[in-house]
Chain length 206, copies 2
């Protein structure tokens, strides 16, 4: 489409590379950018450049940060060192923080074990996690005593939980997994059978 | 979210300005850009810059072009000068071209009359259209004899059709509108009642 305007077609093809953006959406976005003042595309270009320049992964927990060594969460002295929450993506941290229910440390795996996609433990930050835990266990003061696995309840999440549980149990660390069940405000009528099964299995005493 | 990584948040907010891109999608796109090699964002930035630099509107028909004066369609000497197709957006031209059913000239309105959104005929390219038609009528050779209105069948499209029909009829030009009805391969069961009504109204002799 619009092959007679090569620079427009080029922008459409670049936008089309983004996840979830098909050719029609890409064209709509390209029209929007064309009809916006050039300040918009300059702002977007600048934001992408700055992000690549500034954002790095924390050396300890692999969360995103603009700090030189440790991130905001690893530097925070008010957090509980004995509690570690393992998440898949950096964005999961913001959701957990927003819940206000956790004040320990984090560790970002940057993925989950997925044999079908060729992702093994060596492609994640598991080696660094084991090293971090072993280091913490050297003194009573810094020891990680409980690990919470905040991973999705799908096949890949379950595989990763099994893998990590084995490693952590060997070190005598208490392991838990966030509860899966019916969402607050959710209706039993509209919950799928696997979620309902898990909610029954993990029922809590009243 | 992720307020502790300001450059990331900044990119999310820029992406969030795009039409149809909400905060969650913007975050997903920002992660994709972060995890892609910097060549991707450089390519996207370059494509936006080049488009703003090169793409302009044709002086005659207001289609997008990279030419200095007239676009690809206006310059084409093999097209029928007596037939003019009026469309809302430049992208409509590519769809019509792809159908292969039209070999006349085009005119892009760059919108439709929409009193609710405060868009009147003066915000579109109607003045230039009237001027173009009047100029063409000066000699028999260049005269536009039929105008096809390829506008959507919604309230705004209908309003625009009425407005243009009045102007064109005053000049004795034949006016038609593209047919609205059941799509080829479509099923009567799944067509909405307004489309079906229109299809009955505009039935054709067999």
């Amino acid at each position: 489409m619009l092959d007679y305007v090569p620079s427009f077609t080029q922008l459409v093809s670049e936008l089309n590379k983004l996840p979830g953006i098909g050719p029609k959406t890409a064209q709509r976005l390209a029209y929007y950018i064309l009809n916006s003042p050039e300040q918009y595309s300059q702002g977007l270009s600048k934001a992408m450049h700055e992000m690549h320049l500034k954002v790095r992964k924390c050396e300890q927990c692999f969360a995103l940060t603009e700090n030189d060594n440790l991130c905001h969460f690893c530097e925070d002295t008010k957090r509980n060192d004995s509690l570690l929450c393992i998440v898949e993506q950096p964005s999961d941290i913001s959701r957990l923080e927003f819940s206000g229910a956790f004040r320990g440390r984090y560790h970002v795996l940057h993925g989950v074990i997925s044999p079908l996609d060729g992702v093994g433990p060596e492609d994640l930050t598991t080696q660094a996690l084991i090293h971090r835990i072993d280091l913490s266990l050297k003194t009573e003061e810094t020891a990680i005593k409980e690990v919470i696995l905040a991973l999705d309840a799908d096949l890949e999440g379950d595989t990763t939980v099994l893998y990590l549980a084995k490693i952590l149990k060997e070190r005598g660390i208490k392991i838990s997994r966030i509860a899966h069940g019916i969402p607050i405000g959710g209706d039993i009528d509209y919950v799928d059978h696997r979620t309902l099964g898990r909610a029954l299995e993990n029922r809590v005493d009243v």
